[in-house]
Amino acid sequence: MCSSKFLSVLVFAGAAVVIRASDNIPAPKQSVPVLLRGATIHTVSGADVRGDLLFADGKIQTIGAKVAAPAGATVLDVTGKHIYPGLIAASSGMGLTEIGAVRSTVDLAETGLINPNVRAQPAINPDSEMIPVARTNGILTVLSVPQTAGLIAGMSTLIRMDGWTWEDLTIRPTVALHVSWPRMAISRAPNSPSPAEDQQRALDARITKLRDTFAAARAYLKAKEGAGKAIDVDARWEAMIPVLRGALPVFVQADEVKQIEAAVAWAKQENLKITIVGGIDAWRVADLLKARDVAVIVTSVTDLPLRREDAFDAAYANSAKLQAAGVRFCIANDGASNERNLPYWAGKAAAYGLPPAEALKAVTLYPAQLLGVGGELGSIEAGKRATLIVTDGDPLEIPTKVEIAFIDGARIDLGNRQTRLYEKYKKRYEQLKK
């Protein structure tokens, strides 16, 4: 008895440590105008401007060679520095997971195959240590996405990377319904764990399930609209109504060419607006994606090639090929703890053929557009949110440092748990030297 009690206390103590809050204090709302002076302003949407940038009430006001400071404005001299829009991570587990191997800290995937009604928003932990770590490298806006081992993962939420509560963080409570397309590759290897026919049957069953789900949701909507009276609520089909009415897009996780082709065909049949997420094979069907105007959130720049026979740079060069074919795309990272490496994935795509200016857009303006916030975020333009970074160079190059960052005009703390540990242990060695 005694020892088991002791153990349970230990478990509780462990849990208490795990859900600790980050030490960063969220910034207060922008109260006075801010003028950044003397930088190179990379507007992304237009030409670079050498000069000043003024924002107030969280919105960008003026960009110009010389902008006068309004009364009471804070003026920051950033001569020689570079201003970029905040980077946008278009596919992330941010806020939904903390320590991968500790199950109690992971809220990424609900159980079951069909979860259209679950939402990322209320599960996002605003005190996640991952938030300050990511924004230190300029990641200021993130799409937080539920995952699934089934078919429908749930609804994603677009968040800004500073705030006290998940309501503070929310930019768009629901951005898309996330579907995970079943794996379609059939292994015909003699040592495959299950025969090709079994694999095919399992796959067919899953695709049938997906079709049935949408059919059931449509039947529900029809009944609801035609019944003339209240019908029993089905939480799943209720959640899908905005999707069926075209008000909410469907993001389909698909990497292999067969998955992508199947998803595109399915979308046409179901009359859905889809975006492909993953898309490692997308370059193989760039013409189809272009013809159907299906965009791709490329989360796979540094993935290994899918097949032994694929070129070593198949994934590196994917974005460049999509861009050349005129397919709408952006680059994302598909992680959480190292969301901070997002700009370097764009740099890698540039090393393998993507023009550098496009690489920058691929983590700023393009994700804003694909997530439906192109009018608010993703570039430095008057009227847009003043969510931006001040750097000492090209943010796609690793040694570049983000020196200052603003989210909706508020200057945020760029420290994090790691910088604090760094400072703390530097002290140890200073003490040792004395």
């Binding site: 764990p193 070593f312 540990l421």
Partner: protein, 1102 residues
């Protein structure tokens, strides 16, 4: 019961044996008559069979041995043994012989099946076969899930009480003690011409000793010919968890080595004990397993090691060489890929005839799922035996592993002949070769006086490529067995029908049959008949015929008329039935044999497309190492030397015979030198990854025990891993291939150069300091194991103790060895490879690479290392190393760190990306590692993170992936920087290697260009051409098969009844299944897709 034994010897030298064939026939007739037949020991039930067993087979063409032909000979058998064989004129037929005139037939010595699982009790069949049996699938077919899943967790049966501690070490098992009668299997094998078979256990690492069994369909007493032919060994794996040793291929090899050493020790100890006449000495441990292995270590008994893939051939050979075994290797069908090595080794092989069917390439989708290596193997597999024979490799052929031996065996064997195997060699592979390998030449394999009366009677030459000859009878132990083939009749031709007793109601037919019965058809098995100028459906089963003539011919309109009959020679006779049931007698006599169908002999020359001389097979294989220019000058580059010269703008790099000759500006190369103008390019030393699991076959962890320092990554390198090439394409030239982190004291590492295209031995970095992998923390205390583990240790406290205890054992071991050398001990101490490895560590001869995270455990190990005198080469991952960097520096250990990984498990929540910079500042030699097949392709930009986080200067940051890991691996005398005298390992970059925009354009190792962007495209393009040609060829073959057979292998015909769709499963299960499936594939196969699912941070599967 009498066994044939080596002493029952007609063992004359080869030349005299040949003489005996011709001249001793008469004399031996008398001798043979004096011998006695097999006398049964069981009481006779009913009547005794006393039929004389003296036979004379006359008039046949007799092939007494490969290449030795008697055109018209006589074979005399007496009581199951050959009494005489020779030319007709020279062999006297005994008066008491029963005569068997077989004019026109060809006689061969009975074939020896070199491996069969027939006659085995279920518990000894291999796991795959047993699962298939349960699922009701055909033998050798694809079973359900788990049929091939790597770990075989069940313990095989043991039949000795005092035996090996390991349930998979069962060398004492004797098939002779446990085989069972199986007359059906005997009949199936006889149908192919086999008369004896080597029954081989399918379970265990040491599987036990095989037995030669006569395929006479009788009980074991009559069937057992010779016991304990050979010891059989396979790289069988247990589970991933405790009790499962070995859980990895490297563990299996270590277990084999240790067992053979133990056997030597066991024999010596017992010898000593008997010499001492027990005076004062305690008896050694009784161990039947080790006792059984003595015959192996002394070379008395052959050892057959089974390979699962072509790399296993080399592994088996190494074991054979190390222990001087009488080695035979059971191959896989891909031996042609190792022809050079096998030709050099001269080890006999047992080869399967399992040629793959044409791959499914019918749709672009399906074609996309088929690898080029698979297509190549489909084309090359039939040439395997021929290619090996041409290189002087001796081999036996087996039918084992064929899905449908009854159709495949002879078809495939003749295909092999067509593809270059000499018919004589093919015959030898079924007769003299296995007899020789297994020491059975006195019994079987040739037709000579005194051999067992086992032989095959065929209608012609069985071994010609286009042969249609059939086996009409097989004689086993002097008894004749007719084959099914001998019962097949060809009824094609023109027949005259007569009948009696047909009632008048049958109209005009009652008096006279309406014309002739004409039977034709392309093959004898699918005859088509016409009777009375109308089609008449006809079936022929063995000798039974059923004909359905048109009812109108019999004056009827409805119903069916049936003519059933039996074929004897040129007559068919039987009973007919009218629709009303009225019966009549009918018979037919053949008037003429059907003319050979006028099939235009389309002589289409088969074209071949598959590359056979590149390695690995498939895309990007190389035909030997890339050329090494005598002189090479790289001009005008920005040189990042990582050496004393720092960074040189507009620098030149002069290379001579694979070594750096000179570095500077304006260098001049001798005439004829290869020149590279690298203006605008950057050149760095080849990158080095101090933590990789690339190129390991079948398991990176021997996770079954807390201490497994005897296992060696160097034993299991997978030179086919496509990861090697992908990493080359990212500028990597050297990697430290480590055992995983599942146990506190893991396995021995192997430093390699990424010499893609070579065999495993050529990958090895010659002279690299031996090392070992240790690990601390969550992995080794199995905190994420599911279901929970109870293996010691479960805490960081226990981890320390397990290490300490092992080293204490090692010290004691060393002391005991010393005492033995000083003559103080009665018995030699048992050699212990595990402890010997630990002793090497205590002497600093083997350095430690230790997976570690938290500062507490790091400090613990530092103190332990100080106390024990261990040399710590690196702390691996070392994410809290920044907290105790001064202590790491103090013992001179390196830090091989992750750059920015964190929070994937609890022990890494304090990881910081500035850790590398902090440790460097404290005087630690720091490198960044990958532990990941994806990250290993871009180590250059990992180095940039040292600049970002902690402000390490650019050139110093680059050293994190060049010079520093070289120092950690003790190889900086040759690699890691661009300095005169070092290996010419370098990379040409499109921009600064520290830029994300940089692309690796060329990677050189030893002055050889292993990667270049343009060459990469060219190799892919040529692979694509080859691929398309093979796909076209496969399509044509599949088209033919589908047209003739209805469905090819894998088609609907084999799919069986449709099964219901699998029910929905909980997502966690689906997720795990997906991981498992991927894991299982990787666990087993070379030529995998390079998707790296297992590394040190993977917790799910560890």
């Amino acid at each position: 019961m009498r066994f044939y034994s080596v002493q029952t010897c007609f063992c004359l030298p080869r030349a005299s044996r040949r003489l005996a064939l011709f001249f001793l026939g008469h004399a031996l007739c008398f001798t043979a008559a004096g011998l006695r037949a097999q006398i049964p020991t069981a009481p006779i039930e009913g009547l005794r069979d006393a039929t004389p067993r003296v036979h004379a087979i006359t008039g046949a063409r007799i092939i007494t041995a490969p290449g030795q032909v008697i055109e018209r000979g006589t074979l005399v058998l007496r009581d199951g043994v050959i009494a005489a064989v020779g030319p007709e004129a020279e062999v006297k037929i005994p008066a008491d012989a029963r005569l068997w005139p077989v004019e026109g037939k060809t006689i061969y010595a009975g074939f020896v099946e070199s491996e069969t699982d027939a006659h085995l009790p279920a518990a000894l069949k291999s796991a795959a076969t047993r699962v298939d049996a349960v699922a009701g699938a055909p033998r050798g077919g694809r079973g359900g899930r788990g049929a091939v899943a790597a770990p075989v967790t069940e313990t095989p049966v043991a039949d000795e009480a005092a035996r090996s501690w390991n349930p998979r070490v069962t060398p004492e098992r004797q098939v002779a003690r446990m085989f069972v009668a199986d007359d059906k299997a005997d009949a199936r094998l006889r149908e192919l011409g086999f008369t004896t078979a080597v029954v081989t256990s399918g379970r265990g690492v040491f599987r036990g000793q095989s037995a030669l069994v006569s395929l006479n369909g009788k009980n074991p007493n009559a069937a057992l010919v010779r016991r304990n032919l050979a010891q059989h060994v396979a790289f069988e794996l247990g589970g991933a968890r405790e009790q499962g040793y070995p859980g990895s291929l490297m563990g299996a090899i270590a277990l084999i080595r240790q067992s053979l050493l133990d056997a030597q020790w066991h024999a010596a100890s017992w010898k000593k004990f008997s010499e001492l006449k027990s005076a004062g000495a305690e008896r050694p441990e009784a161990n039947a397993s080790l006792a059984a292995l003595e015959s192996v270590t002394t070379g008395r008994l052959p050892v057959v090691i089974s390979a699962q893939d072509e790399l296993d051939l080399l592994r088996a050979q190494k074991i054979g060489d190390e222990f001087k075994l009488r080695l035979v290797i059971r191959g896989t069908g891909t031996e042609y890929r190792m022809a050079d090595a096998l030709a050099a080794a001269k080890t006999p092989l047992i080869l399967p005839l399992n040629f793959p069917a044409a791959p499914e390439v019918d749709t672009p989708d399906k074609a996309g799922d088929v690898a080029l290596a698979t297509l190549q193997h489909w084309e090359l597999a039939p040439a395997n035996a021929g290619k090996l024979a041409a290189r002087g490799v001796a081999f036996a052929l087996t039918s084992a592993g064929l899905r449908t031996p009854e159709t495949q065996f002879w078809t495939n064997l003749r295909l092999a002949v067509k593809r270059g195997l000499a018919p004589e060699t093919a015959l030898a592979a079924l007769t003299t070769a296995p007899a020789k390998f297994l020491g059975l030449e006195d019994l079987v394999g040739t037709l000579a006086t005194g051999r067992i009366a086992n032989f095959v009677v065929a209608t012609g030459d069985l071994f010609a490529a286009n042969s249609t000859a059939e086996i009409s009878a097989v004689w086993v132990d002097g008894d004749r067995f007719e084959t099914d083939a001998s019962q097949k009749v060809d009824v094609r031709g023109t027949w005259k029908i007569v009948w009696t007793g047909l009632p008048a109601t049958a109209g005009t037919a009652a008096a006279n049959p309406p014309g002739e019965l004409k039977i034709d058809g392309r093959t004898a098995t699918r005859p088509r008949a016409r009777f009375g100028d109308k089609d008449a459906p006809l079936t022929v089963t063995r000798r039974d015929v059923t004909l359905l003539p048109a009812v109108e011919l019999f004056g009827g309109k409805d119903g069916t008329v049936r003519l059933a009959g039996h074929v004897t020679d040129e007559e068919i006779s039987g009973t007919g039935l009218l629709p009303d049931g009225a019966a009549f007698r009918w018979s037919a006599t053949r008037q003429a044999v059907a003319a050979a169908p006028a099939r235009a002999e389309r002589k289409v020359e088969e074209k071949f497309f598959a590359t056979a001389d590149a390695y690995p097979a498939g895309v990007l294989g190389r035909k030997g190492p890339p050329v090494q220019p005598e002189w090479l000058l790289v001009k005008n580059a920005t040189l990042w030397t990582s050496g004393p010269l720092g960074r040189i703008e507009g620098g030149d790099l002069l290379i001579h015979a694979g070594k750096i000759e000179k570095i500077g500006k304006g260098l001049v190369a001798p005439p004829g030198a290869t020149m590279i103008d690298a203006a605008g390019k950057h050149v760095s030393a080849g990158l080095i990854d101090c933590h990789s699991h690339t190129a390991i076959s079948r398991g990176i962890n021997e996770a079954t025990s807390a201490v497994t320092v005897e296992v060696r990554v160097g034993d299991v390198l997978d030179a086919t891993d496509i990861g090697l090439y992908r990493e080359l394409a990212g500028g990597l030239t050297v990697a430290n291939i480590l055992h995983g982190s599942a146990n506190p004291m893991g396995g021995q590492n192997q430093v390699i150069k990424l010499r893609w295209g070579g065999l495993p031995e050529t990958l090895k970095y010659a002279g690299a300091k031996p090392g070992v992998k240790f690990a601390l923390g969550e992995n080794v205390k199995q905190s994420s194991a599911s279901p929970p583990s109870t293996r010691y240790p479960q805490t960081r406290m226990g981890v320390e103790q397990v290490m300490l205890d092992t080293f204490q054992q090692a010290r004691d071991y060393e002391r005991t060895q010393q005492e033995w050398r000083e003559g103080k001990l009665t018995y030699a101490p048992r050699r212990n490879l595990r402890l010997e490895s630990a002793v090497e560590m205590l002497h600093g001869e083997r350095v430690v690479h230790i997976h570690s995270y938290r500062q507490d455990e790091v400090l613990m190990f530092i103190r332990l290392a100080e106390k024990l005198g261990l040399t710590v080469a690196t702390f691996q991952h070392i994410l809290e190393g920044y907290k105790v960097a001064d202590q790491i520096a103090k013992i001179g250990a390196g830090a091989s760190a992750f750059t920015d990984w964190w929070n994937y498990k609890y022990e890494v929540i304090d990881a910081i990306p500035q850790g590398g910079a902090l440790m460097r500042a404290a005087g630690v030699v720091v490198s960044f590692n990958s532990d990941d097949a994806g990250l290993a392709r871009r180590m250059n930009t990992e180095a940039s993170k040292a600049m970002k986080y902690g402000g390490v200067p650019a050139e110093e940051a680059l050293k994190f992936v060049t010079l520093n890991p070289a120092k950690q691996l003790r190889i900086d005398d040759r690699v890691g920087s661009l300095e005169a005298g070092k290996d010419a390992d370098f990379v040409i970059w499109s921009a600064s290697p520290l830029s994300t925009y940089a692309r690796c354009e060329q990677t050189w190792i030893d002055g050889r260009r292993y990667f270049e962007l343009g060459e990469d495209s060219a190799m892919r393009a040529s692979a694509q051409v080859e691929r398309e040609a093979l796909v076209q060829k496969a399509l044509a073959e599949r088209g033919r098969n589908l047209a003739t057979a209805g469905a090819g292998p894998g088609g609907a015909a084999e799919a069986g009844a449709p099964r219901p769709p699998p029910p929905d499963k909980p997502f966690v299960q689906l997720w795990l299944e997906e991981l498992e499936a991927r894991h299982a594939l990787q666990y087993q196969s070379i030529y995998h897709d390079g998707q790296n699912s297992v590394n040190c941070s993977t917790h799910v599967l560890q």
